[in-house]
């Protein structure tokens, strides 16, 4: 399996400048690519393009040579930066997970989710706790590729380590391809197999 961006260009409006131009990028399954760039270089835009939330004006996003499916469960799942926005505030957390599919108690504990959180509402949990639900939800849907957009920026270091260990375990088990967006070069070195600098538009050694 291979997720690739071919000559992708994107802008939010015809009158606005290009956010991304002629971008070439590819990730194989089992590979973990770190996407590094300062703010405003289109990291999140690229993440949304790769997961099919946005469509490029030019070029295409291909999964195994084919465009991403428009219907059904998307094999490329995106985990957003702000979990409190990505979870319906009126739903109990059990329903949030059920939206992605069936789950067992054991999977929950491995994501660091306490069973009694399931009956709570999102505002009764902290950002880090909610982010575990977002990660669990994305993985429960059985994706081939996972795109993590600054998912651990709001977590303390111990929790970050726990969350990433869990994601990496899951990545090894399924062979999952991953794109990790971060500002944190140290995190990228720990987690990823190679890097890409969106500012310069070239691959970098980690």
């Amino acid at each position: 399996m291979k997720l690739e961006a071919k000559k992708v260009s994107f802008r939010y409006d015809r009158k606005r400048p290009w956010v991304l131009e002629n971008l070439e990028l590819s990730v194989n399954e089992g590979e973990r690519l770190a996407l590094l760039a300062p703010s405003g270089y289109g990291k999140t835009t690229l993440a949304m393009l790769l997961a099919g939330y946005l469509r490029p004006q030019e070029g295409e996003i291909l999964l195994d040579g084919k465009p991403l499916p428009q219907k059904g469960v998307c094999p490329v799942q995106l985990i957003y930066q702000h979990p409190e926005k990505a979870i319906n505030p009126r739903w109990r957390l059990r329903k949030v997970l059920e939206e992605a599919g069936a789950f067992s108690e054991e999977t929950l504990s491995s994501f660091g989710i306490e069973p009694d959180w399931l009956s709570r509402f999102p505002r009764e949990l902290s950002g880090g706790e909610l982010q575990r639900f977002c990660v669990a939800r994305a993985l429960l849907s059985g994706p081939k590729f996972l795109i993590c957009d600054e998912i651990s920026a709001m977590l303390d270091t111990v929790t970050q380590a726990q969350l990433w260990r869990r994601i990496l375990e899951e990545g090894e088990r399924q062979p999952l391809g991953m794109i990790v967006i971060t500002h944190n070069l140290f995190l990228a070195k720990q987690v990823c197999t190679r890097g890409y600098d969106l500012e310069k538009g070239e691959s970098i050694e980690l």
């Binding site: 939330y53 995106l78 926005k85 990505a86 009126r90 992605a100 849907s141």
Partner: protein
Amino acid sequence: MKRLNYRTKAVILAAALIVILVFLYALGSLIPESAVAGSFLEAGQPPSRKHLFGTDSLGRDLFLRTLKGMSLSLTVGFSASMISAVIAVVVGVIAATGSKRADAVINWVIDLVMSVPHTILVILISFAMGRGLKGLLIGIAATHWCSLARLIRGEVLQLRSQQYAAVSRKLGKSSGWILIHHLLPHLLPQFLIGLILMLLHAILHEAAISFLGFGLPPEQSAIGIILSESMRYLSAGMWWSAMLPGLSLVLIVLLVDRLGERLRTVLDPYSAQE
């Protein structure tokens, strides 16, 4: 006794108001027509212990007529505003989720309906639909959905762009599923408060249209009818025939208004946490 917090108090008050309104409705509809038949021997009596609101020029007991009138007002008001609120949700959701053309057409219709004064439009529709209860119901229901529909359209547009709705689509959920599970529950507060606010308008419009003679038939015990009949006798000193039924109408509108206010307190996120 433990001091109740703001929210609990609001819930209790809202429940009490609903009970009062239901009680008034039941009371009015339990009174048989024969009780308001009246006799000429008792025509034009001022309020007394036997006739709390006095009697009208035909000797009918005004207290019983007013009660029946309030019950009728609530029936007309509630059914018309319920229909109107449902229309508002359907139209608002279609405008927000449908094609651009549907949105444009709906907005145009809303502008059109809102640009004509309500009362005139209700009179026209009610008259065209054969007057009476049916005409009045259709007239009120067809004119009151506009502002709520606009509100709901905006709300759905905003909800649809939420990340959790986008995530849901990528988890393979259909538009219908997202509408029912993600969007509609968020619209419940707007729906309820819109309904109550419309109820106020509907009751007042029902009374106004009947007063002007374009609504309910004159033999019905509606407050609008009672008021318009009393006009002729006011100069003869029968102050009670307009004053007391009129005040009852104000009372019922105030009750509904308070109910809307309490519900808003409970449902509005800014005040719900107080």
